[in-house]
Amino acid sequence: MTDIAATAPTVIGRSLWGDAWARLKANRAAMFSLFYLALIAVISVFGPSLVPHQYTTIYGDYVRTPPSLSAYPKADTIETALTEAIKRMRVDIKEWRQEGNKVFVIVKSAKPIDDRNIRYLDRSDAFDDTKIESKSPDGLEVTMSASIKQQYFLFGTDNTGRDLLSRTLMAGRISLAIGLLAGVVAVVIGVVYGAAAGFAGGKVDEVMMRIVDVLYSLPFIFFVIMLVVFFGRNFVLMFLAVGAVLWLDMARIVRGQALSIRRQEYVQAAEAMGVGQRGILLRHVIPNLLGPVVIYMTLLVPQVIILESFLSFLGLGVQEPMTSWGVLISVGAKNIGTANWLLLFPAFFLVTTLFALNFVGDGLRDALDPRDR
């Protein structure tokens, strides 16, 4: 025995988690999805402050502007924007010309023109830095100059002229946050409840699980709508509540696992060797429970995101001007005839995120399921 131990090469054991990580790394779809999710999370968290537009800013001149890689205003819309602004001054355009990034316009009127009129040009979303270049001696003719404000709307703008890119990113922030928040609430309640039932066993377990059965039998949508009715449209409260509804599956899974782990031979062996309750719990039960919990959590987050979108779609979830992918998609669905980008961009973000979450969930299941080895 002793010389075998002496000659054997030192084998570095791999822990359960090291092993799982190695297998997850070998799963290309799951790894790619993981990177994609990280990317979505980063651009959702930091994106809204980097995009030049606020998600609430309304550009009155750019309502339902189609997405474009080049800057607005386009060459052919400058004249319209200019005549619009000049019309508000209640003066007439004598002539105008564009020089590079600036426009020069000569206006005339029957009455002397007030200098403060230039603010009408500044108020337009297309121009700023308006100056009076020269004035005719009688004050009836004024030459003004203004620089053209270059603005990019990569995803276009919505019905009220808000930038869709910043709104989509902001919506991602809300949708992901809600998914995580409600997911964590559900997991915490489910794990505590299920573990308690599984450990208590006997009568207590039976009563606790009957309660879960009763809650299961009520139509889920009825539950959610009752929650909306109770909590009003305060979405943080509501999603805490939604999380509190979704814990049922988690509780069942954890209870089943806890029961089966307790009956495993290695637990019996540990008991026979005199390991205390606490030791068995920490060393054997919890590490073995973590796998299913992690897997279920990754599958729960997309469920919550879909649920949030569903509620927002019905007008019960997140309220304006705050936004989420569900809100954006519901607006997009109503405008597909005239502005399909309102549907396509948010739908793309939502669907790809759901895909990625599913792939990560499947990958984790393959990586953590010991039966598959």
């Binding site: 039998s217 009752m226 009715v229 569903f310 739908a347 599913n358």
Partner: protein, 307 residues
């Protein structure tokens, strides 16, 4: 078997009673009432309305009244659509939702089992991967994305289908909603079928059938299918109950006058009788379809017996 069915129907009564009771009291605990709209009625009118519908009685008395009416098949008047009783509303909307749901279910079962079988027969080959990819897409993309995309492609770009509306049940008006309802279900059925078919193809009687020289077609359709179909049967129960009672999303997007919207609208407007009616209808559908599925189980698999 008959005794089993009767016993199941009898046990459904307490279940229904619990569901009705819970829904009734949950609904009443919620703040607000059917006549507190934003543009409020004058207090006198409201008092009269509430008196007319018996809303001033003690809650237990209202509950007893409601149960009594329910037993006589009377769901009561709708509070927010005062020209209709709840029964009339369902008589109008339910056939529409059932038509759409049933078509979607049949489509899902046929197409899903076919795709699942194809995948199982080509395990780990191109056909398999294609079906898995389609199934993943179908079960991941939510209905409220599928529906407007179908409208956008088939309705606006190619102009093959109307964008929405019921059109008195014209076939062309049903295509979009049925497709939207069926796609996620097709995905689920295909996945279930693939898994159970792979298992069924590995069993001994299939090996025997092959050894006896039966054709591939007869092995799969006559012998493997019968064993593989059980998970699909148990899927059909809850799926049928959910599909036939209408979908809020699909009916809203395609402007279909079915019963899918009743639940949401009624709960938000505190239309108590309509909410209760919807709960009862959904519960009955669920109970009946689960019973049918359990009976079907015994028909498909003779090893299952109910005594």
């Amino acid at each position: 078997m008959l005794r089993y069915v009767l016993r199941r129907l009898l046990t459904a009564i307490p279940t229904l009673f619990v569901i009705v009771t819970m829904a009734f009291f949950l609904m009443r605990v919620a703040p607000g009432g059917p006549f507190n709209q934003e543009r409020g009625l004058s207090p006198e009118i409201r008092a009269n309305l509430e008196a007319q519908f018996g809303l001033n009685d003690p809650l237990w008395l209202q509950f007893v009244h409601y149960l009594g009416n329910l037993l006589r098949g009377n769901f009561g008047p709708s509070y927010n659509m005062p020209d209709f009783t709840v029964t009339e509303l369902f008589a109008k909307g339910l056939p529409i939702s059932v038509q759409l749901g049933a078509s979607a279910l049949v489509l899902a079962l046929l197409l899903g089992s076919m795709l699942g079988t194809i995948a199982a027969l080509n395990q780990n080959k191109l056909g398999d991967y294609t079906v898995i990819a389609l199934a993943t897409a179908g079960s991941t993309i939510p209905t409220f994305v599928i529906a407007p995309v179908i409208q956008l492609l088939f309705g606006l770009t190619w102009r093959l289908l109307p964008i929405g509306g019921w059109g008195d049940g014209a076939f062309i008006n049903k295509v979009g909603p049925v497709l939207t309802l069926a796609l996620p279900q097709i995905a689920i059925v295909a996945r279930l079928m693939r898994g159970s078919m792979i298992e069924s193809l590995r069993s001994h009687h299939i090996r025997t059938a092959r050894a006896l020289g039966l054709s591939d077609w007869s092995v799969v359709v006559k012998h493997a299918l019968r064993g593989a179909i059980l998970p699909i049967v148990s899927f059909t129960g809850p799926a049928a109950a959910a599909l036939l009672t209408g979908s809020v999303i699909v009916e809203t997007i395609f402007s279909i006058p079915g019963v899918g919207r009743y639940f949401v609208d009624a709960a938000l407007n505190r239309d108590y009788t309509l909410v209760m009616g919807t709960v009862v209808v959904i519960a009955i559908f669920t109970i009946v379809f689960n019973l049918i599925v359990d009976v079907m189980y015994a028909v498909v698999d003779p090893r299952v017996r109910y005594d």
